[in-house]
């Protein structure tokens, strides 16, 4: 599904990712953990095609294709989804119009007809239930005036609408209370599929009690310093990131 080879990335001349290697197979859930500033969000943004980054070296293959050659919108249309850490507000654009445009752009790319109004509304109702999204929210402007929890639910709702092949969830747990965390995790788990892979970027082990990863990687100072099974998350929780400093040296 995704192969990252020796990826080095800089922003404004400062190297953030210093040689990342990662292999993700279809159906797998990978967790990327690490302290603040270790480069977790950068990795997510680079995969999604945000432009401000400079790729110094390395390659990324997505379903055998050179991902770095694709525009951000084409990556999305080919099934790569980024759940944002800080979802952006777009005043004046109703959520329902936004997601309808998005769904139909994805369909157009696949050579499918746009959904009829009826089909779309049915799909939307179904997916909203999945994350217990307040049905009024989709009539409001994109993320405008949404609470922190609503914004995150809205990300998972969009993911459910778009059914991506590779979902990258950037700090989806931040700012969520325990109930919202459970709802969001249930949503993610319900979307588990043998053909769908997930990268969960998180600071805390807490989320991984709900979304159980197949692999855990620890990103530290721009490098993956340790990879193991789900037990690594618990070990980190217990020993803290300081443990890594000695460990990685």
């Amino acid at each position: 599904m995704l192969t990252i080879k020796n990826l080095r990335v800089a922003i404004e001349g400062k190297e953030i990712l210093k040689g990342i290697n990662l292999e993700i197979k279809a159906g797998e859930v990978h967790a990327i953990m690490g302290p603040n500033g270790s480069g977790k969000s950068t990795l997510g943004n680079v995969l999604a095609g945000k432009e401000e980054y400079e790729i110094l070296e390395g390659e990324i293959l997505y379903e055998g294709e050179d991902l770095l050659e694709l525009s951000a919108e084409d990556r999305a249309r080919k099934g790569l989804f980024l759940g944002f850490q800080y979802p952006v507000e777009i005043p004046g654009v109703p959520m329902v119009n936004f997601i309808k445009t998005s769904v139909n752009e994805h369909r157009k790319f696949k050579g499918l007809e746009p959904l009829t109004a009826g089909e779309f509304l049915k799909l939307m109702r179904e997916k909203k239930e999945l994350v217990h999204l307040d049905s009024q929210l989709t009539n409001r402007s994109v993320n405008e005036g949404f609470s922190g929890g609503e914004k995150k639910k809205n990300e998972i709702f969009q993911m459910a609408m778009l059914e991506p092949k590779l979902a990258i969830l950037d700090e989806t747990d931040s700012g969520l209370d325990i109930d919202a965390l459970r709802i969001v995790s249930d949503g993610v788990n319900a979307l588990k599929h043998p053909e769908r892979s997930t990268i969960v970027i998180t600071h805390y082990q807490r989320l991984l009690e709900y979304i159980v990863p197949d692999h855990v990687h620890v990103l530290y100072q721009g490098k993956i310093v340790k990879s193991a099974g789900k037990e690594l998350a618990l070990e980190l929780e217990e020993k803290g990131y300081d443990w890594l400093k000695t460990h990685s040296l």
Partner: protein
């Protein structure tokens, strides 16, 4: 979006039901301006004496006026003696087929969904068939005539209804009003006249919205709309298709008069050629639009979507004379590349309990400058007057400018005037968010801009609103790199 495309297609593929064709002379006169030229214009149009006097009076006033320089605009010098003030409006075909026309223009036509035959006319390609149907025009006129509504070209009105013209011409925009209004009054070639008799609700939206004929409206256009007691009319002017014109200077005047409890809605979509990306060429548009609420409880509203012109100088205004009368101004003004716009409104409160609302949405991109200039004036007698103004600016990129010049003069203590203003920027983060959901940058900008301007677009009649939405997106193409 698809649904809108469909509507757009339907709208643009139908014939222009509401158009009329003016009879234009095919000769022209030498360039330059003096009293003889004005006499010649009036004579060629077979005008009655009062029209000639109106023109001469305006001309003599114009001679004493300086060109206004207070707007936030850089206006290149204009030589008024180099202009031909009366010329054959009918353009000769410039091309034999569409293949010879600038492909950029054709692409824009296609994006707007303009049918092929119309594209030919707009681009100046020879066409065989007459597109306008005479029978459609006649049916339309009959329907209006039954109600007593007069809707015709200005020249026709001068011939057929001289008393009405004499009574109302210059009532809301006097010849001495400003430099460009005086010039227009002296030399205007033609325009539209609309009269709604007492108690009549005009059965259809009146429109000079005839892309085909618009080529002939000329550079000094004059519109006069009179709504008698208890009447109502919605009037549309303009064109979403890009209009190219060899005349660089345009100075139109629109006058509206609303009597007791009458309501006039005036909507404009304007897309004159803005010049190329380097700022060469483009139309200079100096327009005076004013409505006067003469009657009590009358209402005049201006709604405009401005995307064109190299220079826009335009302040559709309302004078609220009658007690309880209402003025409204809703505007979206887009500037891109090297365009400059200084536009806004004047709301003059004279009557008691008069109310006005101003919603102005400026969008600037490229190297353009976009200014809102508005005056809210409450006279001492206008007790309990209310005004609410909202002036928002949206910036794309960091090389454009947005400016707001509000002027407020309140002459009594019982009136309330509120002014709100915001400035925002389309962020790269917003664009990236849309990209990440599979929406291209251009579509994203179109969506965000339309969301921003929605409040004003919603005031437009349906067929106009859909086209205006497309137009906003097209006007901003390539403005975020």
């Amino acid at each position: 979006m698809e649904e809108q495309d469909k509507i757009l297609h339907e709208v643009t593929s139908q014939e222009y039901k509401f158009g009329f064709v003016s009879d234009f002379e095919s000769e022209s006169i030498p360039k330059g301006l003096n009293e003889d030229v004005i006499r010649l214009i009036s004579a060629k149009k077979n005008e009655p004496e009062f029209m000639l006097q109106f023109r001469l009076d305006a001309y003599r006033k114009w001679l004493k006026m300086p060109m206004p320089d207070w707007a936030y605009l850089k206006i290149p010098p204009i030589d008024f003696q180099e202009i031909i003030y009366y010329s054959a409006p009918k353009k000769k075909p410039q091309y034999e087929s569409l293949d010879e026309v600038d492909p950029d223009l054709i692409e824009t036509f296609n994006k707007l969904g303009i049918p092929l035959e119309e594209q030919k006319v707009l681009a100046g390609v020879a066409v065989d068939a007459v597109i306008d149907s005479v029978s459609v025009k006649t049916t339309f006129k009959e329907t209006l005539a039954e109600k007593g509504v007069i809707f015709c070209s200005f020249s026709e009105a001068v011939k057929e209804h001289p008393d009405l013209v004499k009574k109302y011409l210059g009532m809301s925009v006097p010849t001495s009003d400003n430099f460009f209004a005086a010039l227009n009054s002296a030399v205007f070639s033609d325009g539209s006249f609309c009269y709604i008799p007492k108690g009549v609700r005009c059965p259809m939206e009146l429109s000079t919205y005839f892309r085909i004929n618009a080529a002939g409206t000329g550079q000094f256009e004059r519109t006069l709309i009179v709504a008698e007691d208890e009447s109502y009319v919605s009037y549309l002017e303009g064109c979403t298709a890009p209009m190219r014109d060899e005349n660089q200077l345009h100075a139109a005047v629109v006058e509206i008069i609303a009597m007791d409890r009458a309501e006039v809605k005036y909507s404009t979509v304007q897309n004159w050629y803005p010049g190329n990306k380097e700022g060469k060429g483009g139309v200079y548009n100096f327009v005076t639009k004013r409505g006067i609420c003469r009657g009590e409880s009358s209402k005049i509203s201006w709604t405009q979507v401005e995307t064109g012109s190299a220079i826009t100088w335009k302040y559709p205004s309302v004078i609220m004379m009658g007690d309880n009368s209402v003025g409204e101004f809703n505007s979206v003004a887009v500037t891109n590349n090297h365009q400059q716009a200084d536009t806004g409104t004047k709301m003059i409160h004279i009557g008691k309990n008069t109310k006005s609302t101003i919603v102005s949405k400026g969008i600037s991109a490229g190297l353009s400058d976009n200014s809102y200039r508005g005056l809210v004036k409450v006279l001492p007698g206008a007790v309990n007057a209310r005004n609410f103004s909202q002036c928002d600016s949206l910036l794309l990129g960091s090389t454009c400018g947005a400016h707001t010049f509000p002027y407020i003069e309140v002459g009594n203590k019982s009136s309330i005037v509120e002014h709100e203003a915001t400035t925002s920027k389309i962020g790269e983060d917003q664009i990236f968010y849309c990209n990440q959901r599979g929406i291209s940058t251009e579509d994203a900008i179109g969506m965000i801009v339309n969301g921003y301007a929605k409040e004003v677009l919603n005031k437009l009649p349906m067929e106009f609103a859909v086209e205006a939405q497309k137009l906003l997106a097209i006007s901003l193409e390539g403005s975020v790199g």
